[in-house]
Amino acid sequence: MSAKIIKAAVIAAFMLLVAPCSPRPAQAQDAKAPYPAMAPLDGYLMADRDAEIALAKSAAPPALSSDANVLVLEKDGYHTAIEGKNGFTCVVERGWMSPLDSTDFWNPKLRGPICYNPAAVRSILPYTILRTKLILSGLTKDQMVEKIQTELAGGLLPLPEPGAMSYMMSKNQYLGDGPKHWHSHLMFHLPRSGAASWGANLDGSPVVVDTDHHEGPEPETIFMVPVDHWSDGTSAVHNDSASH
């Protein structure tokens, strides 16, 4: 599957937890979306805390996730369930971490297990925590974006650190009604940049960037690299046709 096809699948079906986009088109599409508004909160929560922990840890190989910090979602935001010791943090992200114009933004079934490395814990995870907290506090998308922009402008939020990356290698990920578990992949969080200058999204390139959505308040460009196995070591090579 070429990078362009991968990218098309990414964009068409939805995609993971990439930088948000302009709120206006998103609001306009909400009325036609299968999930036009936030569902009852319980739909986003996982009643089985241990299951959420296991799902979060499944984002990365056990050698990494077994010693990671783990967050679980509660009614007011993320809370630490397991204190880690290797500097990594694993969490199951929800639909509101997807692009604002994604039809799955309010999809209560969406589960995005992800493990952040230490540099990303410091410089990327704060956006997940903040966005989630703002959404759960009842802010609209526009208000959430405005709040993040304000905090970023005030120096209250970090810029992506060099080496910030994350793992999305769970075969149990559910990234939307279209792609479901998409590809096992890594994400490299870099300061915002035009993809063309990086050589991404080219035929034959394994590096994929979502350039079809407008950039949002988070000051990053995410470079995704599909890999050929899931976090449990099983092959993901033949997943392409099955996943979307």
């Binding site: 599957m1 070429s2 990078a3 096809i5 990365a60 190989p61 050698a63 990494l64 290797n86 500097g87 990594f88 490395n117 230490p118 540099a119 992506p160 060099p162 080496g163 990356m165 590809h183 096992s184 890594l186 490299f188 870099l190 300061p191 940049s193 200058s197 990086w198 050589g199 080219l202 035929d203 034959g204 390139s205 394994p206 590096v207 470079f223 690299v225 599909p226 890999v227 050929d228 196995h229 070591g233 993901a236 090579v237 392409d240």
Partner: protein
């Protein structure tokens, strides 16, 4: 892919890399894939261009090895630089890796790659070269790269396994610049194929290596520039 083993070598005495060999790849590996200044210029260009997708390599600046080090064979646009990256263990060449740096790598790491070959052409030892590069980072002649990555997608990327005493092919991969990152930043020290990315090198030249998922056969049918 049947695993044959790991090999470890050094890149210019500074970087180390663990790579995966397949039995099939090993069988296809030329007996002597080394590249020298006497390697025909057109062959060097062909290999260099095989490192990246055609949309990158077709516009890249290309360097070839000459008697005094790298020579610019072609001026490109867009900032990418393609060349054959060599490494040595003492006097033995232990890698011949077609590579394409993006603009950031061309601005930073490429300078040290060129310096290494310049010094080799002058007869300097690998230890002397290592010292020169280290001094260069300290005195500001060289700079660690900012965000970016390089392509090593060629099917003609060879490393010498000093334990097995044979050459083998390295699977296509990309490497993200990760200056001053350590194994703690990728979570483990293992370099097994199921542990991605893994870290290679150290200091300003540390890199996060991702063995990329192989594209479908219809989009990847050999050298990465041939489609």
């Amino acid at each position: 892919m049947k695993l044959m083993g790991w090999m470890k070598t050094t890149f210019a005495g500074v970087l180390s890399i663990g790579v995966l060999l397949s039995s099939a790849a090993a069988q296809d590996t030329p007996q002597d894939p080394t590249v020298t200044a006497s390697t025909p210029r057109e062959r060097q260009i062909e290999l260099a261009l095989s490192a990246a997708p055609a949309e990158v390599s077709s516009k890249a600046t290309v360097y070839v090895l000459g008697p005094k080090g790298y020579e610019k064979a072609r001026e490109g646009a867009g900032g990418f630089s393609c060349f054959i990256w060599r490494s040595f263990k003492e006097t033995k060449q232990v890698s011949a890796s077609p590579a394409c740096f993006d603009a950031e790598g061309s601005r930073t790491l490429m300078v040290t790659v060129m310096r290494r070959e310049e010094l080799r052409a002058q007869g300097k030892s690998e230890a002397e070269i290592k010292d020169d590069i280290a001094r260069g980072y300290k005195d500001g002649r060289y700079n660690a790269p900012g965000p970016g990555f390089l392509y090593m997608m060629s099917n003609a990327n060879y490393f010498y396994d000093s334990e097995a005493k044979q050459w083998g092919a390295v699977p296509p991969h990309v490497m993200f610049y990760a200056p001053n990152k350590t194994v703690k930043d990728v979570g483990y020290e293992s370099k097994s194929p199921t542990m991605v990315p893994y870290l290679t090198g150290d200091g300003p030249e540390a890199l996060m290596v991702v063995m990329a998922k192989k594209p479908a056969e219809d989009s990847f049918s050999g050298d990465s520039h041939k489609h």
